[in-house]
Amino acid sequence: MVRFENVGLRYGMGPEVLKDVTFGIEPNSFQFLTGPSGAGKTTLMRLLFLSLRPTRGLITLFGRDVSSLDPDEVAVIRRRIGIVFQDFRLLDHLTTYENVSLPLRILGKEEPSYRGEVSEILHWVGLGDRMHVLPPVLSGGEKQRAAIARALIGRPEFLLADEPTGNVDPTLARRLLRLFVELNKSGTSVLLATHDIALMDQFDARRLVIADGRLYVYD
């Protein structure tokens, strides 16, 4: 599904922030991505989400070399990936319902066709009664759950979550982890970036540790 081969990345003329990164992500797999702050976790996530192109090396996503993708092909690949940002990236002028339904709206679907589905997933993440409020009114945890719902609504094959439990209490963090595990059981590959050791200890999964720009894989 995902393959990195000797990938390196530098910003401008600066030093390499990722060096010779080589790893793969298989379908229906679950892995944590961890490492100290500033080690390159977010940069690696951005490479996975085609927001950055590598300076060197080869990245293939769903069998496609990302260096050969045109903007429309990038858009199609992104529809197969769900992403949860650390800072949520919800649109403040859209309601929770509208934010979550955005991936369906961009596909040109009519609102009545996805109304039940969006409503269902919002209830599932515990935001059934917060559907029609704007993000500035939501708490950090609610925003996080709305962001997760938006990432899941398009039924992605691969879910990327960048510190999804960073803004929630331990109880909700456990609940969110269960949510990701359930999602993985239903066939979605999950990459969960976190530096919460306690959270990782709750579920036995592959760990990708990034330090000083290098990646170490612990199966």
């Binding site: 858009a75 649109l91 955005l102 029609h132």
Partner: protein, 318 residues
């Protein structure tokens, strides 16, 4: 969704969303962040100027055409002043020669009073022509169905009456045509400038709107929106802005021309002896159609320019 464990779902049925259909959904690009009022004003002013230009050009063309058409229906024979008896005989002969020429439907010898009225703008009223060497004028009306051989008539007149000259007003007509064409070319130039200024204004406004909505654009990219979809979101806003501004400017231009047409009915500028802008500045149906076309074109140019600008900006972001 199949991925969801039904046991975890809330027992309550899904609440009906507040908004019932796509029409009720909030626009993805917030309307308030698109340069609205200022751009509407710019487009309105530009459309007003374009409308004025189109209307004026059409009025000048129509008026020049009418004048040229009038002039082309008449030619004049002028007989220099001299011995009154000889001049009278020459006038009679010239009238007969003209009447015999095929294609000339009527020959009208101007009386002294009519000639005096022609000279009034230069010599004033109440003048006595008997003391002045005023030539006699014969106005020939041409048959529009069969053009006369004016070259032959001119030669015959010159042979038979050496003091006679035939004036077909061709030079004046050519100069009038050149002026009308000049006005049209100038109008096209003005329209080009107006269109360029509008396009530049929309380009800057679109760039500003995309910059202001950078977060929206990024999120749309991340959820898999194609550039075409994102461009369409902005284009919808700018089409509305263009249509609104265009309608205001076009309506203002049309209202101005209508006012000019109606003012003579209220006694303003309607004196046929003292021609003013009110007597000829009428764009006609084609002029008003041109103003309507300018409104549609302005809305389309605004929408298309914003779409292309968003595409270019998105490519730069990517």
């Amino acid at each position: 969704m199949s991925m969801i464990d039904p046991a975890r779902l809330d027992a309550d049925p899904p609440a009906r969303p507040r908004r019932a259909g796509p029409r009720g959904l909030t626009p993805i690009v917030p309307r308030a962040t698109v340069a609205g009022r200022a751009l509407v004003a710019v487009v309105a002013i530009m459309t007003f100027l374009a409308g004025l230009t189109i209307g004026s050009v059409m009025a000048v063309r129509a008026t020049a055409q009418a004048w040229r058409s009038d002039v082309a229906r008449e030619v004049t024979i002028q007989i220099r002043a001299g011995d009154p008896a000889a001049v009278a005989a020459q006038v009679k002969l010239a009238s007969e020669l003209a009447a015999q020429t095929p294609g000339i439907s009527a020959a009208n010898v101007l009386t002294e009073d009519e000639t005096a009225r022609l000279l009034e703008p230069w010599l004033g009223t109440g003048l006595d022509l008997s003391s002045l060497p005023v030539p006699r004028i014969i106005v020939l009306r041409l048959d529009p169905a069969a053009a006369p051989d004016l070259t032959r008539l001119r030669r015959t007149l010159t042979d038979r009456i050496p003091t006679a000259t035939l004036d077909d007003h061709r030079g004046w007509s050519r100069r009038l045509g050149a002026v009308a064409e000049g006005v049209v070319v100038t109008g096209l130039g003005l329209l080009l400038l107006v269109a360029t200024a509008t396009i530049l204004s929309v380009v800057f406004a679109t760039r500003a709107a995309v910059a202001t909505n950078r977060t929206v654009v990024e999120v749309l990219h991340f959820v898999g929106a194609r550039d075409g979809f994102i461009a369409a979101q902005f284009q919808r806003h700018f089409l509305r802005v263009g249509a609104e501004g265009g309608a205001i400017g076009g309506a203002a231009a049309a209202a101005l021309f209508l006012a000019v047409a109606l003012l003579p009915r209220f006694g303003v500028g309607g004196d046929p002896e003292a021609p003013s802008v009110f007597t000829w500045l009428h764009p006609g149906p084609w002029g008003f159609a041109g103003i309507a076309a300018a409104v549609v074109l302005m809305a389309c140019v605004t929408a298309l320019t914003s779409r292309l600008t968003v595409y270019r900006t998105l490519r730069a972001i990517t």
